[in-house]
């Protein structure tokens, strides 16, 4: 992964240190957790065999990074996301897949508090979505990077880091920029950037602020090889450090690095489990193909 990406230039001390942290197999550096029983997992749902049996009181669940209870979104009569019950544990690395219009972005935007649910509730880091406490914990890397026209990349980094109460941000900002290959453009306005450079700037900003949960929407769009591999490495490092990651993507090659796979189709949950058990081609094919 990252090692091969950087093999075209002499390895610096920093690169070697990163290599050491992520070796030997970055994809397995984040230990795969066993597939958890999720609130909705079609394949795992079994009908009750004994109606008269008295259920034993279940022990209280430990706090979760993300929970959704009947979370749904509709635009007028058009449903975007059917009621969804999810529980994502702290430290999970989740891939969210599905065809275009399957509800991935809708779900992420609701979790980050940018979109108001039509029904249901959700929490992030045990706080209601959109609350100040939730916003303290969650970093969102959107599919369309957004920047101020009047701030350079460096000033964005400073502004965002300081607004999240971080004072010692400079070294991390320099390191992140160096990693994604943005060091030479730190004093430029992102509005003048190409799509790929904008994405790199957005990645740097998303990682410079403190977070426990990171929601990422189509992060590989427009990225060159350096940027793509730097992002994968950053995700692995953040996951190793205990962060919860939810990555919505069409890049099936990145799914294998996840500990859990959630697939949506037509706004409904169609798979929730171990990525190795999933038929990725079927889960990501478009609606027309499905109906056909």
């Amino acid at each position: 992964m990252s090692q091969s990406s950087r093999s075209n230039r002499p390895k610096s001390n920093k690169t070697r240190a990163r290599d050491a942290r992520t070796s030997p197999q970055p994809s397995t550096a984040s230990p795969k957790k066993p597939s958890k029983p999720s609130a909705v997992e079609p394949a795992a749902v079994e009908p009750a065999t004994d109606d008269t049996a008295t259920p034993e009181p279940s022990p209280p669940l430990p706090p979760a990074a993300i929970t959704t209870n009947g979370l749904a979104k509709a635009y007028g009569d058009a449903p975007a996301l059917a009621p969804l019950d999810l529980r994502i544990e702290h430290g999970d690395r989740v891939s969210l897949i599905g065809h275009n219009g399957s509800g991935k972005t809708t779900l992420l935007r609701m979790l980050v508090g940018m979109l108001e649910p039509s029904e249901g509730t959700a929490t992030v880091a045990e706080h209601p979505i959109g609350s100040r406490e939730a916003r303290t914990a969650v970093s969102y890397l959107a599919d369309q990077p957004v920047f101020y026209d009047d701030l350079t990349v460096w000033e964005h980094l400073e502004y965002v880091a300081r607004l999240h109460g971080t004072d010692d941000w400079e070294q991390q900002a320099v390191d992140l920029a160096d990693m994604v290959g943005l060091s030479e453009r730190l004093d430029d306005l992102p509005m003048t950037f190409s799509r790929g450079l904008k994405q790199k700037a957005a990645i740097t900003i998303a990682f410079v602020r403190p977070f426990d949960v990171m929601l990422i929407d189509e992060p590989f769009v427009g990225l060159d090889r350096t940027g793509r591999e730097a992002l994968l490495e950053l995700l692995a490092l953040a996951h190793d450090d205990g962060a919860t990651l939810v990555v919505a993507t069409h890049e099936l090659s990145s799914v294998e690095r996840s500990s859990r796979l959630i697939a949506l189709s037509g706004g409904e949950l169609v798979f929730d489990g171990d990525p190795s058990e999933a038929d990725l081609a079927r889960l990501t094919e478009g609606r027309s193909a499905e109906s056909g």
Binding site: S12, K14, A17, R21, A74, Y75, G76, V112, G113, M114, E116, P117, S118, A125, G130, R132, E133, R135, T136, S139, Y140, V146, F147, Y148, D149, D150, L151, T152, W154, E155, Y159, V160, R162, L163, H164, G165, T166, E170, Q171, Q172, V174, D175, L176, D178, S183, L186, D187, D188, T192, F207, R209, P210, F211, D212, L234, L237, A238, D241, G242, A243
Partner: protein, 585 residues
Amino acid sequence: MRHRHYVLVAMTSDAPTATVPSDAAATLRELRRTRKRRRLGELDWYDVAYRVYLFALVGLVLVVWVSDAVDGAIGDTVDTVDLLTRGPAVIGLAVVAAFALGVRSGADGGPISVELADIRHVLLSPVSRRTFMLRPIGQRLRSAAFAVGLGGAVLGQLIATEVEGSRTAWAAACGAFGAIVGATFVATAVLSHALRVPRPLATVLAAGAVLWQGLVAWGIWNDTTDGLARIGPGNLAGRLALWGIDQRAVDVIAIAVAVAMAGAALSLGGRLRLEPLARRGELVSQLRFAATVQDLRTVVQLRRQLRSEILRTRQWGSVRTPLRPEPSATVRARTPAPTTPPAVTPRVIWARGVRSLRRLPLARLARIALLAAIAGVGGVLTYDASPLFGLLLLAAVFLVGLECLEPLSQEIDRPDLTDSYAIERGWIYVHLLVAPAVLLAVVALLGAAVATAVDPSLALGAFALAVPVAWAAAVGPVVVTVLDAPSPPSPTTLLGTPRDAESSFVPPEFAGFSTALKAAIPVVLSAVATVPVFVARFSGDVASVGRSVLGVVLVIALAVLWVRRRDAWTVKTRDFFEAGRAAQS
């Protein structure tokens, strides 16, 4: 059909070298005819007639009202001989300014805009671009000449109330002059664009022309020049505007020059660059929509984009690149989030605001200075001449406010970013007002200096009122900007209906009314800023002026409080309605 055959032949592998289809112009005409027929077929003629009727009625009432107000305001002491001697050079400044603006606009890719679809499908096809561009350039020339000409005619009949000559003659002369000004702007811009005049050269040409005419006007006005030094590029056109008093055949040259420039613009229209045409095509469609819904702030922002006015990468006054640490051996991918929302010092926001203002481009700073000067002159005229000039003062200070609010505007236009910070939005917005307030204070003092230069006896009053007037005038722009921020999320409206279905329950009459109200309220709020000037004019009592300033300060404080607490008040209002519905059920 022949055109389609040509395309098919060109697509085959053994097709000969493509030749320009001979019937392309006919195809283009047919396409335009069809689209026009469809457009006209969709028009609601009754609605159009009603709008024209309303426009004419309101326009007529305004003209009559202003004519009555102006009649006698200047006095009957205007010396026509003096006017004919000194007037042309001063009036000619308008046509030279149109030339200057046109050269700059053309260098920035203006002034023509074409539909994106036309660029993709027509201008990229082997159709003569000159043939295609004749219509948009012709339309632009026509509309500019008509609009400015109409303004000139209205002004002309107003002048006739103060100066000798018939209303008709004055209206015709000033109308012709206005048409020349409008056509000069468009023709110069097209020529500058087609001839690829570089921006620096355009600036030099524009500044040179204005300086030349300005020096001539200054010299003639003060009787300090004679001979060739009295010749300026706008003199003939300026003299044409005075045909209400006296007609001179040689002035027709001004019309001939304008017509020649328009002809040259039409003939070189095929050389306009596609990239700016495409950029402007997109922006103009947004601009039309914003103007339709009376979204003044968006109109101003899009106008800036149309002028290619981008913020500076390097801040004014920055002399060195910042020192930064070297990349370290290990990268820290994550800082764990704190358990409670962080406490943030306001200095972070203030510094962000200062950076924003230090990136304003020179053109914008010049515009702010010009508006400050106009406000200064408008204030003096409101006090000395006629209360009508209060409108000039209000327009200038309102626009200055909009220009100076860049930091707040940037934050409001990116709610995704603002809402990702674990801080109340209102707190950020209020602190983003600090830097613009400082800039406004500086601009206000500039306006006061101009007012003092116009009438030195008003120096004390001008400097005393400048800052509160400028801040109060910014209340409207602040409100119009903050209103663009999304409300705190809620699935239902105040009435309890689902928010997604809200629009379907709003009758069009109410929607139109609320749109007009939204456009009017900020202007009304900013109008409060002019109250001390009016109080000074009509009472002249220092104590009364002081009380009016206190009132203005109270309005400013209320506006700041509203910005800070808006979200909380919205939520409280919703809760109140929610509680009411719960009690009823």
